[in-house]
């Protein structure tokens, strides 16, 4: 597809906004213990920051960020983080996803649950981000968007 427009203003605005959206996404994930937020919302924000660069910059710029072939493995890693946390707890003698049994030394059970929730939220965020980017990449595949 031919380039429809090549505006430096759009690219500059996207370059200015994208890192802040990404930082806010990580903030929403990691601050979900204290404020509204969590893995799903933070993952959507992370995907928004990357998709903004993809829409504004086109294929040439988006190649510098997450490549197209890397999205599916990232989604698998996100699901695997969640599943492995539950499986580790089960292997250490607890129930599935019983964070008290996670092998982190020097922490009492409430703190273990705290960090267990944090780990799975990161996994959810990664999976949601990768899936959203994957859907976008496959919708515009073969065309040089922007």
């Amino acid at each position: 597809m031919r380039r429809q427009f090549d505006s430096p203003i759009v690219l500059l605005g996207a370059r200015l906004l994208s890192p802040y959206i990404m930082v806010f996404g990580w903030y929403v994930i990691f601050h979900g213990h204290y404020s509204p937020g969590g893995g799903f919302q933070g993952g959507a924000l992370l995907a928004a920051s990357i998709l903004l660069m993809r829409v504004a910059g086109g294929r040439r710029v988006s190649r510098l960020q997450i490549r197209e072939f890397a999205t599916t493995p990232l989604a698998i890693i996100g699901v695997f983080i969640y599943f492995a946390t539950g499986l580790t707890a089960m292997a250490m003698g607890g129930y599935f996803l019983d964070y008290e049994m996670l092998p982190l030394p020097g922490l009492d059970p409430p703190s273990l649950r705290y960090y267990g929730i944090l780990i799975i939220e990161v996994g959810i965020g990664l999976a949601v981000m990768a899936i959203l980017i994957m859907i976008f990449d496959n919708m515009v595949k073969g065309e040089d968007y922007a």
Partner: protein, 105 residues
């Protein structure tokens, strides 16, 4: 036929409005779902979550504890649903070479 549709809609709305009359008032602390024990004298799940969320996981946000700890298998299912939806979108939207060749013929 159109009159029948409208009649069905009006009847359904009447049923819903009639049923809404039995709902408890919003924010009333004496509601059944706010009670600590249910009518069968067992502890209500919600009151257990409210009272013990911070003690169990040392996390001030109760919703995060319910989503990530008490109902974590449900959240795992949600994540798998999103993952499966992404894979289905990949399969549907992916442009393979054979399909393109078939379209060009």
């Amino acid at each position: 036929m159109k009159a029948l549709k409208v009649l069905i809609l009006v009847l359904f709305a009447a049923v819903l409005i009639y049923a809404a009359g039995d709902l408890p008032y919003r924010g009333d602390p004496d509601n059944l779902m706010h009670a600590e024990r249910s009518i069968t004298n067992t502890q209500v799940k919600g009151s257990y979550f409210i009272q013990n969320a911070y003690r169990d996981a040392r996390t001030p946000n109760m919703v995060t504890v319910v989503l990530g700890d008490y109902r974590s298998i449900d959240t795992f299912g949600e994540q798998v649903v999103i993952y499966t939806a992404g894979l289905i979108a990949l399969l549907v939207l992916r442009r393979t070479r054979t399909i393109r060749r078939r379209l060009e013929e």
